[in-house]
């Protein structure tokens, strides 16, 4: 498929090989036992209390996995003789959770230049990061890693599973989304941010016009003809001649964002690329309108996911009107201080978004620590403040899958889907339940009993009874 961005764009192949080998050294030294690369033919989880997310829960049933895909699910499933059976009686099985927007897993979350659509997180993903290990521990089986909010146009994200020794092995789907920030990074100017965005797209038009002109001239040259028209006409005539390889790295992703179709001098040219979507960060309520306007102007509105800041719930009417999927802030409660009374008014954001009927996804809490990153706890909070249980569970599984366009593969326990399964010791929305096992594409990827790091954290004290304070 031409035009697909390659994460290797800037790294020569030999060096890539070197880097990967080098990384492997770290990974094998990691605490979690690395899974075998090839999944078992058939895996069966029996006696489970299944939360399929789509459809009614099953009090006791079996999930049968064949070659990494879910083959059957139900109370009565015939288990083939060669299946590797995991007895998970009394435990809860739910689809793997999806972290739909994170910059964790990257070394530095943002490039320091404002406009970097040509970047791809694949070049920075470090499979040996503890973050991915923690994902397994937390039952997160798919992570959409994408640049953070501090660049105007960030770069391409990628959906990865938290296992694998190389980025290629981790990849679930190549990047389909660019990161755009409407809210400037702190200390930067908001008006300038919008001006930069507008000018970036204007510059793309200029660039394509020049490419078209060049193509027309080249064509004439090839045919050994003389140039016969002025630049404007040449651009029109060259419009249809633009080929994918003419578009440079800097502009390719921008063009894909705008639909992948060349538009020069007011007319459509050939469609060169598959379109890209955008994760658009709106830190404040006022940004929603700007984001919608920008996305509509440049024809990526239908592929836009809005990443919301805490205050955005104020613009719920606009969000409802836009009817685009939204990623909620990690801090689910928004607190505003009344400037007059000094009192704090609190709003529980997911409830408001749910009431507006929007498709929403939850992301882990705002903090870096392990305890803050439990997606199931985020869902439990939603239930605490009145979001129905099913909807809360969807917000960490199926909804993010839908946003990423992967709902055919991820997000629920249904036959035919990728076998991303999490076994909880109890109800996932109960904080005291823990992740016991994780299956990714049928691979038993995590087992709490074999989690070296966790076991160490839970080990009895090494206090030496002979040591004395004095």
């Amino acid at each position: 498929m031409h035009g697909k961005p390659r994460y290797s764009a800037f790294v020569p192949a030999w060096l890539r090989g070197f880097v990967v080998t080098w990384l492997c050294g770290f990974v094998t030294a990691g605490a979690v036992a690395q899974p075998p690369a090839v999944p078992p033919e058939r895996v069966a989880l029996t006696g489970a209390r299944i939360i399929p997310v789509v459809g009614a829960p099953i009090a006791s049933g079996t999930v049968l996995v064949e070659r990494g895909k879910i083959a059957a699910v139900g109370p009565e499933v015939e288990i083939p003789y060669d299946a590797r059976v995991f007895d998970v009686s009394g435990k809860f099985v739910m689809p793997g959770m999806i972290d739909v927007h994170t910059a964790r897993g990257l070394d530095i979350p943002n490039e320091s230049r404002p406009v970097t659509p040509h970047l791809d997180v694949a070049d920075a993903l470090d499979p040996s990061q503890l973050f991915f290990e923690d994902c397994l521990r937390l039952g997160i089986t798919a992570v959409h890693v994408i640049p953070a909010n501090n660049t105007v146009i960030g770069g391409l994200g990628r959906v990865v599973r938290p296992i694998g020794l190389t980025v290629g092995e981790m990849t679930i789907a190549e990047g389909e989304f660019l990161k755009i920030a409407i809210t400037p990074r702190r200390g930067f100017d908001r008006m300038l941010q919008m001006a930069t965005l507008r000018e970036t797209f204007l510059e793309l038009d200029d660039y394509l016009a020049r490419v078209a002109e060049k193509r027309y001239e080249d064509k004439l040259k090839e045919e050994d003809k003389q140039i016969d028209v002025g630049p404007d006409e040449a651009r029109k005539r060259g419009r249809d001649l633009v080929r994918a390889e003419d578009v440079d790295d800097q502009h390719r992703n921008l063009l894909r964002l705008c639909g992948g179709q060349v538009r020069v001098a007011g007319g459509p040219g050939p469609k060169l690329f598959q379109p890209l979507g955008a994760f658009v960060y709106c830190g404040n309520a006022m940004d929603i309108a700007l984001a919608v306007r920008l996305a509509k102007d440049h024809a990526f509105f239908d592929r836009t996911v809005l990443v919301l800041g805490g205050e955005c719930h104020k613009a719920v009417a606009e969000l409802k009107q836009a009817a685009r999927p939204v990623v909620l802030p990690g801090d689910l409660t928004y607190r505003a201080t009344d400037p007059l009374t000094g009192e704090v008014h609190e709003t529980f954001v997911p409830k408001k978004i749910f009431d507006a009927g929007l498709l929403f996804a939850l992301v882990p809490g705002p903090d870096d620590s392990y305890a803050e990153r439990m997606l199931n706890y985020q869902a439990a909070q939603c239930v605490r403040y009145g979001v129905p249980r099913d909807e809360a569970l969807r917000a960490i599984t199926l909804n993010p899958a839908k946003m990423l366009g992967l709902d055919g593969r991820l997000g629920s326990i249904e036959p035919g889907k990728d076998a991303h399964l999490v076994v909880f010791s109890g109800d996932p929305l109960d904080f005291s339940s823990v992740v016991e096992q994780v299956f990714i594409d049928g691979i038993p990827a995590y087992d709490r009993a074999k989690d070296v790091r966790l076991q160490r954290l839970l080990s009895p004290g090494t206090s030496d009874s002979t040591a004395k304070p004095e």
Partner: protein
């Protein structure tokens, strides 16, 4: 020798009790030979206007004010100018007479810094010594109607020293120190904390203050500002911008019976009710046009719960008319007009401890009068003339219709 001693013998007698109470007046330096030559006789004079601001701060129709020497002899009602007798009369048709405006916390005419920062406790410092009577700022304040201001040590010391009450003009025409025995200045603001000296924190600041009070109480009673303050005899103006600072003032008052007046207070929302009856008063401001609603409504909230409120002007960095701007802002945020007028005159004088001499137009009080073209709260009103201690020290173009102009 002080400026006060140049007045008549009877005046001296009338002031005797004030002198006793307030300690010594200015020093010899205030006696300026050049000015003495211009000293007027004690012959009376009269000012006539359409209305005046009475002791309650209300505007009352009819304003004939008789001055005798440095004092007001009579003020009142519907009298005719002819009743003034055989004295020159300054007539200001349609004008309003107001007591001279009083800025109860300012740095006007300060020669250099207003804080000694070697140590956070500087009770013996007196702002009188920083008063530069030749400062050009004084005239700017005077023509805006400010006749009296409290020259206060700034907010950078926990105990900054003694506030001096100064006037932008005196009976001899020169600015003077009216009293160098004003309240003690204290501060809880962030400016107190410095890396090279104690305290660096609030617990340190309040702890030091407690220790200072306790030490002063434990010692032999002496003529010492801190001893007087600790004994509850001398009020303290304490920079307390936040609500929590006001709470700390209430706490200290409760613990030791000290009389604290929170100043620069910008937040009254949750403390104005608690402060009711607990403090002698509160000083709000300075307020400028960019002050938020929370700051401008503080005066009204304190006043609603019965705490006397004064408004500070913040001269000289603020514009000369900042006192009136502050009062107008407070009035628009709910302070009653009468209270707003008092906040820049009588209430300020009372909090400064000179409420028995200046601040209101009453017989026997010093004749500090500002003639406004309309209500002093109305920012459209202009200052037509200013009298200090009976002497006209400023008159605007198109001033009085009769009488003499110096």
């Amino acid at each position: 020798m002080s400026a006060g001693h140049t007045s008549s013998a009877s005046r001296r007698g009338a002031l005797a009790c004030a002198v006793l109470m307030l300690g010594t007046f200015g020093v010899a330096a205030w006696d300026v030979p050049a000015a003495r030559g211009q000293a007027r006789s004690s012959a009376g004079r009269a000012i006539q206007a359409a209305a005046y601001v009475n002791e309650q701060g209300q505007m009352v129709a009819g304003g004939l004010l008789l001055i005798e020497g440095e004092s007001i002899a009579q003020i009142g009602g519907d009298r005719e100018a002819s009743e003034a007798g055989d004295v020159p009369v300054d007539v200001y048709p349609g004008a309003v007479l107001s007591p001279g405006l009083i800025d109860c916390h300012s740095a006007l005419a300060a020669a250099g810094d207003l804080s000694e920062r070697e140590h956070a406790l500087q009770p013996h410092v007196n702002a009188r010594d920083a008063f530069d009577r030749y400062s050009h700022q004084l005239r700017l304040a005077l023509v805006a109607g400010v006749t009296t201001f409290a020259l206060a040590p700034d907010d950078r010391n926990l105990v900054g020293g003694r506030i001096a009450i100064c006037q932008t003009a005196g009976p001899d025409g020169w600015p003077r120190v009216l009293s160098d025995a004003g309240p003690l200045k204290l501060s809880l603001s962030v400016d107190v904390y410095r890396p090279e000296r104690e305290p660096t924190s609030r617990s340190g600041a309040l702890g030091m203050l407690r220790e200072a009070i306790e030490t002063a109480r434990a010692g032999v009673p002496q003529d010492d500002p801190l001893t007087a303050f600790a004994a509850g005899a001398l009020p303290g103006f304490i920079a307390a911008p936040s609500g929590a600072d006001v709470l700390a003032c209430l706490q200290l008052g409760q613990e030791y019976g000290v009389r604290l007046v929170p100043i620069h207070t910008r937040d009254a929302r949750r403390v104005s009710e608690l402060a009711s009856g607990q403090i002698a008063g509160v000083v709000v401001g300075p307020l400028d046009f960019s002050a938020g609603q929370r700051a401008t409504e503080a005066a009204a909230l304190f006043a609603r719960h019965g705490t006397p409120v004064a408004i500070a002007g913040g001269l000289p960095a603020a514009p000369a008319d900042s006192l009136r701007i502050g009062a107008a802002l407070a009035a628009r945020s709910g302070l009653a007009p009468a209270a707003a007028r008092r906040a820049i005159t009588a209430a300020a004088a009372e909090l400064l401890g000179v409420g028995d001499r200046i601040g209101v137009l009453r017989a026997g009080y010093q004749a500090d009068v500002v003639v406004f073209s309309a209500d002093p709260l109305d920012l459209r009103a202009r200052v037509l003339a200013v009298y200090v201690a009976g002497r006209r020290v400023f008159v605007a173009d198109g001033g009085p219709q009769s009488g003499d102009v110096p």
